[in-house]
């Protein structure tokens, strides 16, 4: 923990983000394949915009 005092905590998150992004990339890759397979068999309803926090 001592080294945390000398290094900007933001910089250490670069490596973390690279690893997490890689894991997420694999996850999304399979998710997309699954969504494609599902879309062949299931008619999905039109997506509504849920991009509003308020």
């Amino acid at each position: 923990m001592a080294e945390l005092l000398y290094i900007d905590p933001g910089s250490s998150s670069f490596l973390v983000q690279a690893i997490i992004a890689a894991v997420l990339g694999i996850g999304f890759f399979f998710k997309n394949i699954w969504a494609y397979i599902k879309s062949i068999f299931v008619r999905t309803p039109k997506k509504t915009d849920d991009n509003q926090a308020h």
Partner: protein, 461 residues
């Protein structure tokens, strides 16, 4: 008139600029060093888009070097705010919406070639019935090869506190007061239950993140290339996780208080009638604080009379319910705040000036203290004189206060579990103590409840 320029004590971290006040009006200076980023933010249309969506506070650009400093690039005059509040005074869903707003800002700004360089809830404030981002200088030019600089800050300031409240099923706002810069990841990780590891996104963003951060610091940093898709994957995963977090409905201290109160010979109806009549006759009252606001029934009466009302209660569930009500009904002049009146938020941060005390921020024309005095006097042993002094520092013009006699069923309930040492708790002593600060203008009993409403006018100082 001579200008007095005061740099805000919290505006020292970022060399991009700073905020200052001139004759009580707030301005933001953009420094030369940040000019390329700021100009891109404006020219790309990003500012306009975010301001149009009411996600970012709008500003007026004033091309005048008001501070006279050599670093000046431009000056902004942001839309004014009523009352600054801090995340430890927000309910769970307020913090959650602030987190979602932060993530939406990242996604939206990336489309314009900008990115949010900070992810702290202190950049978000209450404005016209919603939470809005304040720091116009938090947007810098986006480089696709760079990861999100504020990722760890987001995890410590937003995600961690929300996860802890979600898993522990209790409001934990005081933790945000203890760690205003965000709860350190190792602390969050150790406080979360082991089962949280089985949630993929919680595992990645907290458990794995903590593990790698601690180990990763020991070795020199390698240059790691990122991409826009990776950034969006990261932000989308955070958004999915935050959206799932809930603080389960809970029987709050005041839940069903009004239902019970209604049963008491139309006590509530009569009280509303009197308040409506008194408030309707007020002139020149623009702001109010409803202390012990509960679900905001009386704040709504004030708001209906065009009085901007800060509704404060120490119960986080009440404030959360009120927040939902405000959001769903689009009410613009009620501001919900969690406040323990026997322990209002202190001044914290650098020089104890960075985040000011609640009392210094709560400055209104009218103070409303309904069914409150017995909680302070008998529940917390605060003498009438001290309560009168406290309330006189909040309402600069008048006070509406309800006196609850010792014979009242609620007071008797409180005294059933503690020794009655409150011999001075009488209506006469109450009036005497308050008359040192206020002039009693009106008083009216509430039906046959035994409770009495007082309208008091503050003595001129």
């Amino acid at each position: 008139m001579e200008k007095t320029i005061t740099r805000h004590p919290s505006s020292y971290r970022d060399p991009s600029g700073f905020i200052f006040t001139v004759n009580h009006i707030l301005y933001r200076q953009v420094n030369k060093v940040f000019a390329p980023h700021f100009d891109h933010f404006i020219r790309s249309g990003c500012y306009q888009r975010l301001a149009d969506k009411k996600w970012l506070i709008s500003h007026e650009e004033i091309r005048e070097n008001m501070t006279g400093g050599p670093d000046w690039h431009t000056t902004l005059k942001p839309a004014p705010l009523h009352c600054i509040t801090y995340p430890y005074e927000w309910s769970f869903d307020m913090l959650k919406d602030a987190a979602l707003l932060t993530l939406q800002l990242v996604k939206e700004s990336v489309a314009f070639g900008c990115i949010l360089k900070d992810a702290t809830p202190y950049n978000i404030q209450w404005h016209q019935g919603r939470l809005i981002f304040m720091d116009t200088l938090s947007f810098e030019q986006y480089s696709e090869e760079e990861p999100w600089i504020a990722y760890r800050q987001f995890c410590e300031c937003f995600l961690g506190p929300l996860l802890l409240m979600h898993y522990k099923k209790m409001p934990l706002q005081p933790l945000l007061l203890a760690w205003p810069e965000g709860i350190p990841l190792p602390v969050i990780k150790s406080l979360l239950p082991g089962r949280s590891k089985f949630s993929l996104y919680t595992f990645l963003h907290i458990h794995l993140n903590t593990g790698i951060s601690v180990k990763g610091n020991a070795s020199p940093q390698k240059k790691i290339k990122f991409s826009r898709q990776k950034l969006l994957n990261l932000v989308n995963s955070l958004e999915t996780l935050v959206k799932k977090l809930r603080l389960p409905p809970h029987q709050s201290t005041w839940s069903a208080y009004y239902e019970e109160a209604c049963g008491r010979s139309n006590y509530l109806g009569e009280k509303k009638r009197i308040i409506r009549e008194w408030v309707g006759g007020l002139n020149g009252f623009k702001t109010a604080a409803d202390l012990g606001a509960n679900d905001g029934a009386f704040s709504r009466i004030l708001a209906e009379n065009d009085i901007y009302t800060i509704a404060a209660d120490f119960d986080p569930f009440c404030i959360n319910n009120l927040y939902h009500f405000i959001r769903e009904n689009g009410i613009r002049n009620i501001q919900p705040v969690i406040a323990d009146l026997a322990n209002p938020s202190p001044a914290i941060g650098v020089n104890n000036e960075e985040r000011t005390s609640l009392i210094s921020r709560l400055k209104v024309d009218l103070c409303l203290a309904l069914a409150l005095i017995h909680h302070l006097s008998i529940g917390k042993n605060i003498p009438f004189e001290m309560t009168a002094d406290f309330l006189s520092r909040i309402g600069s013009k008048a006070l509406i206060i309800e006196f609850i006699p010792k014979t009242d069923v609620k007071v008797q309930l409180m005294l059933s579990v503690k020794k009655d040492i409150y011999t001075s708790y009488t209506e006469d002593n109450f009036k005497k103590a308050f008359q040192s600060y206020f002039k009693i203008a009106r008083q009216e009993p509430i039906g046959d409840s035994g409770r009495v409403l007082y309208f008091m006018i503050l003595h001129e100082k």
